[in-house]
């Protein structure tokens, strides 16, 4: 191809498209050139001077983040010249960077720590006192430790180029230069500023929410999907002691790039709630007793066999495709009936101007598309209330999955001959339920969500489900299997495969094919649906 150039990096010959930077080309041969100011999602000012590499024929080391490859170029990233240059640059960083790693929240995931450990001098030579700025509250969720800043200006560029709301700037010059906000305005009122904490290569910008909470090396990272809206941002749940400690974005250029909004970032407390249902409850009148799964499922099946009048079900758009598919299969096995769901909608979208495909969507449930594909109907208002009158007066079987039933009274479902509530908490709306079955949350189970553009994305369990709580697809699948005499899906891939056989939209996708970027469902989905 005409627009491909041949380049040799560290002895590896490779062909890359014209215009690729040396840094990106080096990634293809498995070499990460150390860098601070460069970020693939923003412009490169080439000001950190750490990514300088040795290019044969060039009189001086070249900044690999802005130098594009040329045909026949020979680049050395690990030559003596390149290493000596990096060592020198790192020493300059440590002229003013405090050695406060023990009290720094970034410790363990800090690029300066890593690079100095790998390539820096063994002993510092600085004898002069370091400059001291102290710390500054930038507003929002961000604290600024000026001493630790290496002036890469990623945060300034994020706010001006990606969020496009200039809130940060560099003040003063030279040794005294420091990041600052404009007057007292700070970052308050911006919706994406949590990302500057992620992209800060050192511990200069830290999250107030995560301050001193856990050490980076203690955290287990589990790939997951954000449940805050229908965008389906890829996230990592960082857990310790069976609690979610924080949420970080996971790169997926098709969905969210490198970013997530602050709503999603801080929407994890519900995953850590301790007041959970831990055992199936069987109710008879006002008495309620904990029971085992076997008795509870037997009771549900007996109740369903004895009741007539059809099935009405309430689903939740926060449940996974597997859960919803298993509910659909159970309702069909019990004779079929309408399934409704309610989901909240925000008044406005919150777009991220510099990344046009990303926004906090109006639709605030992660799996409305999935629910729609399963033939479920949305009822109620934009605050996820109302619309349940039909189910409340139903006299046959009523199944509720995941909906918290905040707006109904304790008499909800009293008319039903069998009322089964599957949820994470024992809510007032389930007071009349004959059986209350504990199910796992999204953070505790494996499954998939279908985002607004029809992309099926997998999430993995990060937490241990409490007590006897089980994924809803397992509970519902067991009921269906008992009822119909068919096989039961014991794993999430099985449940997804079973879903593919009942809902045509999912039939073309294999669970293993979804990968880390998701797979789009067969049916075309309206992009203006919300």
């Amino acid at each position: 191809m005409a627009d491909m150039v041949k380049v040799t990096i560290d002895g590896h010959e490779l062909e890359v498209p014209k215009g690729t930077t040396i840094l990106e080309a080096a990634k293809r041969v498995g070499t990460e050139v150390p860098h601070y100011c460069y970020h693939p999602g923003m412009s490169s000012p080439a000001m950190c001077r750490l990514c300088l590499v040795d290019v044969e024929g060039a009189p001086k080391p070249m900044p690999s983040c802005v130098t594009t490859v040329m045909d026949g170029q020979v680049v050395h990233t690990q030559s003596e010249k390149a290493l000596a240059n990096r060592q020198g640059v790192l020493e300059f960083y440590l002229v003013n960077h405090p050695l406060d790693c023990p009290i720094c929240d970034m410790s363990g995931e800090c690029n300066l720590q890593d690079y100095v450990h790998e390539e820096g001098r063994k002993q510092g030579r600085g004898r002069e006192p370091k400059r001291v700025f102290g710390r500054d509250d930038f507003g929002g969720d961000v604290l600024f430790y000026g001493d630790r800043c290496v002036m890469c200006t990623r945060c300034v560029r994020f706010m001006s180029e990606v969020e496009q709301d200039d809130r940060l700037t560099v003040v003063e010059r030279g040794n005294r230069s420091v990041i600052d906000t404009f007057f007292a305005e700070g970052l308050d009122g911006t919706n994406w500023h949590g990302n500057i904490v992620d992209i800060c290569p050192v511990g200069a910008l830290v999250s107030k929410d995560f301050l001193h909470k856990a050490r980076a090396w203690d955290l287990t990272h589990t790939p997951s999907i954000c449940t805050s809206c229908s965008q389906g941002c890829n996230i990592d749940l960082h857990t310790r002691d069976n609690l979610v400690q924080r949420i970080k974005p996971r790169e997926n250029l098709d969905v969210n790039g490198w970013w997530i909004c602050d709503h999603g970032r801080h929407d994890y407390e519900w995953m850590n709630r301790g007041d959970r249902l831990e055992a199936p409850l069987a109710r008879d009148g006002s008495t309620s007793r904990a029971t085992g799964w076997k008795d509870a499922l037997r009771g549900v099946l007996d109740g369903a066999a004895a009741s007539s009048g059809g099935v009405r079900a309430i689903a939740s758009a926060g449940s996974s495709n597997e859960d919803l598919g298993a509910l659909r299969a159970l309702v069909d096995a019990l004779g079929g009936g309408e399934i409704v769901y309610r989901s909240a909608r925000a008044a406005d979208e919150i777009p991220l101007k510099g990344y046009p495909t990303l926004a906090r969507r109006r639709d605030l449930a992660p799996n409305t598309t999935g629910a729609n594909l399963m033939g479920m109907t949305r009822v109620g208002g934009d605050d996820a209330t109302g619309g349940l009158e039909g189910v409340a007066s139903h006299e046959g079987v009523v199944i509720v999955l995941g909906d918290r039933l905040d707006d109904v009274g304790a008499d909800f479902g009293e008319k039903a001959s069998l009322y089964v509530y599957l949820g994470t908490h024992d809510v007032p709306g389930a007071s009349a339920a004959h059986f209350v079955l504990p199910v796992a949350t999204h953070a505790e189970s494996e499954g998939t969500f279908t985002n607004r553009e029809g992309r099926v994305q997998r999430f993995e369990p990060a937490l241990q489900a409490p007590g006897m709580a089980r994924p809803a697809w397992l509970v519902l699948g067991a009921l269906t299997a008992e009822r119909t005499g068919g096989g039961v899906a014991r794993t999430a891939p099985d449940a997804f495969a079973a879903l593919g056989s009942t809902v045509p939209a999912f039939s073309g996708i294999g669970y293993g094919d979804i990968g880390s970027r998701g797979a789009v469902v067969n049916e075309s989905v309206s992009l203006t649906g919300d």
Partner: protein, 166 residues
């Protein structure tokens, strides 16, 4: 190869007297009576000398104003091979990072001293102490206040005049 067997010829009881053996035994007894060698130590009135490398129950060093020196960096629970340290970091009213919870389970501890070795601020130390007796097991989980109250000296492995051993 033939096996060589040593045959013991024991004196036959009916032809030998026990008197000689008994007298030599009594001689030793009387010798000790007139020239006693003390081997019994009057513990606890007399204390044993501890080895210079003795590592006993922990001590938390404090600043002059009584605050713990610990900055809750999390290295000791990370390095602890027995997993006996529980630490929750927080911030005090002066904005300093400090441990909200710092607990050492002295039952689980194997007294390897790695917590002391890894500590960047010379806060936690193993001590020259071994007398631990409590009425309940949970008293062996030392919390931060208890660790700061410990009045026994730190181990001699740590020299306060050269705290970082440089």
């Amino acid at each position: 190869m033939a096996i060589s067997v040593k045959v013991m010829h024991r004196p036959a009881p009916e032809t030998t007297s026990y008197l000689r053996a008994a007298l030599s035994g009594m001689a030793l007894t009387f010798r000790h009576m007139v020239n006693p060698v003390k081997v019994t130590q009057q513990y606890p009135e007399e204390q044993t000398d501890l080895d210079p490398r003795w590592r006993g129950t922990h001590v938390m060093e404090t600043h002059a104003d009584g605050r713990p020196k610990c900055v809750a960096c999390g290295l000791c629970p990370t390095v602890c091979p027995a997993n006996c340290i529980r630490l929750v970091g927080g911030e005090d009213d002066q904005g300093n990072r400090y441990p909200l919870v710092y607990e050492i389970d002295e039952f689980r501890c194997i007294f390897c001293g790695m917590c002391q070795e890894v500590c960047p601020v010379e806060a936690i130390h193993v001590g020259r102490h071994f007398e631990n007796a409590e009425y309940t097991r949970d008293r062996f989980v030392y919390d931060l206040d208890r660790l700061m109250e410990q009045d026994h000296p730190s181990t001699l492995l740590w020299d306060p005049s050269d705290p970082t051993s440089e």
